[in-house]
């Protein structure tokens, strides 16, 4: 399991109901189900990964964040998780709204576009930045809605979500030490991880 998935798992209480949007090969829901006794389910777009998950006995449906969340009833999960995907959905604001309609808590991670390397590359090179995290050229990237940590906080404020926890992590998922300062986190954090709840 990736380190950032460990961080997510640590945010989740045992024996709760969890929906993981973009559950990939089912690593996180498998961990939550087998180690934490959670009722953990997944949605995944890549059919090969769906089949692999179901073949491992995990409840995963073929679908995606933009089109399938509307079919889940209100308050049907304790946590709804979206890992490293917010920047790639068609309507991030609507996806967040749906997540907090379905779940008591939303756990969202995304790559931070405010990272200093990106800023520097755009400033000095004048071209769309390419880094280890942002590694596809602009004409091929699925990441159509990049945002910074401050952008995301502003959206939470606008839509009235309470930020229970947040942290900036580097690409390997190690927690970074600048957690007290949003400005520093926005400059040095490669990935951001948020635990939100409804007001």
């Amino acid at each position: 399991m990736r380190l950032d998935q460990h961080l997510i798992a640590d945010m989740i209480e045992p024996r709760t109901r969890v929906l993981d949007i973009g559950s990939g090969d089912g690593t996180l829901i498998g961990h939550l189900y087998r180690e934490r006794g959670c009722d953990a389910r997944g949605i995944e777009l890549n059919m090969e990964l769906v089949t692999r998950s179901v073949a491992h006995g995990l409840p995963v449906v073929h679908g995606d964040a933009d089109h399938d969340l509307a079919y889940y009833p209100d308050h049907s999960f304790d946590y709804v998780v979206l890992q490293r995907t917010l920047q790639a959905v068609e309507r991030p604001r609507e996806v967040l709204r749906q997540m907090l309609r379905i779940g008591r808590y939303a756990i969202v991670s995304f790559p931070n576009f405010g990272h200093w390397q990106l800023r520097l590359r755009l400033l000095l090179g004048g071209r769309m930045p390419m880094t280890a995290v942002w590694h596809t050229p602009w004409y091929e990237t699925p990441n159509i809605h990049p945002c910074t940590i401050r952008d995301f906080l502003e959206l939470c404020r606008q839509d009235g979500y309470i930020v229970e926890k947040w942290m900036a992590v580097d690409e390997e998922g190690e927690r970074a030490p600048w957690r007290r300062s949003i400005r520093l986190a926005n400059l040095f954090g490669e990935q951001a991880l948020f635990l939100l709840r409804r007001r």
């Binding site: 009722d39 389910r41 059919m47 769906v50 089949t51 998950s53 179901v54 073949a55 491992h56 006995g57 995990l58 409840p59 995963v60 449906v61 073929h62 679908g63 399938d68 079919y71 889940y72 009833p73 049907s76």
Partner: protein, 391 residues
């Protein structure tokens, strides 16, 4: 062939229910025989039983040589020792559907008078049955085997309809269900195809108003045409192209048609020959009136019928684990229908998995070699067992 002899009634192992089954139409059909096969051993706790529901023209001979056709069981590659539905672990039951013609009570069975003395065959007087009626009969069988709760109910196509009906009618009776290559209701297109098949049978002069058995004939041409047409719907265009392309072969008269050596129908395409073979072999094992009864039951199938077309309420509060499977090239029960079902199950907050298997084999893919499908079945069942704490 002597068609007055009911196809194998009495020869197939069966359970008898003198009290009969109360049908959706209000009639109590009695007595009722349900023919069935089992594989594997029922555990002492009776917690390892899987009911398999067969498709329209299938029957209970899932994993053994068919006594009538001599062909291997229709799902022998899925059910057996070490197979995805592993009979070393599970006790597998499959029964011939109510209305069928392989030993269960249907239009081909003799009706009895008030005292139980056998009268003439039911024929078209057989009461209209529904998928739910089939499931009621299966439920009787399962209970008569001493099983209070099934581990799972699994089935494809019309079998998948029964699976859904099980989950809705007896939600406490199973841990998990696998509706495969199926839909929550029969679409207008599906009803249309069924109607063409029925009309082909009824238009055959040998159908004799449904009383063909009186005169020792069968509406073989009509039934064969119905089967040929239906068979096309079970395959994809890619599968047909791969199998037959535009290849031709000598017609039955060695290239000569009725008009001599130069004839429109002298040589025939291989796909025509294949369909003719499918049609002619089908009429030897399937009863025409059963065909009419069962296709009608499929047409009536709509899980949401009692809920103003809303598919979620029938599943509300269900604790059953669902695994919905569709096949990408199946245009008879397309993925869109499976997705509608999966979304309805999500709305009902059910525990659901939904997999679309990539294949070009069409609707019949669930009967064919599809490794991803095998892995899905095996893995889902293992997951359910793990969740239920069964070893």
């Amino acid at each position: 062939m002597n068609s007055t002899a009911p196809l194998g009634v009495g020869e197939h192992p069966h359970a008898s229910f003198p009290e009969g089954v109360e049908l959706d139409c209000g009639v109590t059909l009695a007595p009722v025989d349900i023919a069935y096969c089992t594989y594997g051993q029922l555990s002492p706790q009776k917690d390892n039983a899987i009911l398999i529901c067969h498709a329209f023209t299938g029957d209970q001979y899932v994993a053994e040589t068919h006594p009538l056709t001599g062909k291997p069981g229709w799902w022998g590659r899925m059910v057996g020792p070490g197979k995805p539905i592993d009979t070393n672990r599970f006790f597998v039951i499959c029964s011939n559907v109510l209305g069928g013609c392989m030993g269960s009570t249907g239009p081909r069975s003799p009706r009895t008078d008030g005292q139980g003395a056998p009268q003439e065959l039911w024929g078209t007087a057989f009461p209209p049955i529904t998928i739910r009626d089939m499931v009621r009969a299966q439920h009787k069988l399962v209970r008569s085997l001493g099983i209070e709760r099934l581990f799972a109910v699994v089935g494809g196509s019309m079998g998948g309809m029964q699976v859904l009906e099980w989950a809705v009618t007896y939600p406490q009776m199973m841990l998990a269900v696998m509706p495969i290559a199926t839909a929550p209701y029969h679409s207008a297109q599906n009803i249309a195809f069924n109607e063409v098949g029925r009309q082909a049978i009824i238009a055959d002069p040998d159908w004799r108003g449904g009383r063909y058995w009186e005169e020792g004939v069968i509406p073989a041409r009509g039934l064969a045409v119905a089967r040929m047409m239906a068979h096309i719907t079970y395959l994809s265009e890619e599968a047909l192209t791969r199998k037959f392309g535009r290849r031709m072969r000598r017609g039955p008269a060695g290239g000569q048609g009725p008009e001599g050596p130069v004839s429109t129908f002298g040589d025939i395409f291989e796909v025509e020959s294949y369909l003719r073979y499918q049609g002619s072999s089908f009429v030897r094992r399937f009863d025409a009136n059963s065909y009419l009864s069962i296709t009608r039951a499929m047409d009536w199938f709509d899980i949401a019928a009692d809920h103003d077309g809303d598919l979620a309420p029938p599943f509300a509060g269900t604790a059953v684990r669902f695994c919905v499977v569709s096949f990408s090239s199946d245009w008879l029960f397309p993925t869109s229908a499976a997705r509608t079902l999966a979304r309805a199950l999500n709305r009902a907050a059910a525990n659901v998995s939904f997999v679309e298997i990539e294949t070009d084999k069409g609707h019949d893919a669930f009967l064919l070699d599809e490794p991803d499908f095998d892995r899905t079945v095996r893995g889902f069942l293992c997951g359910v067992a793990e969740h239920a704490g069964l070893s």
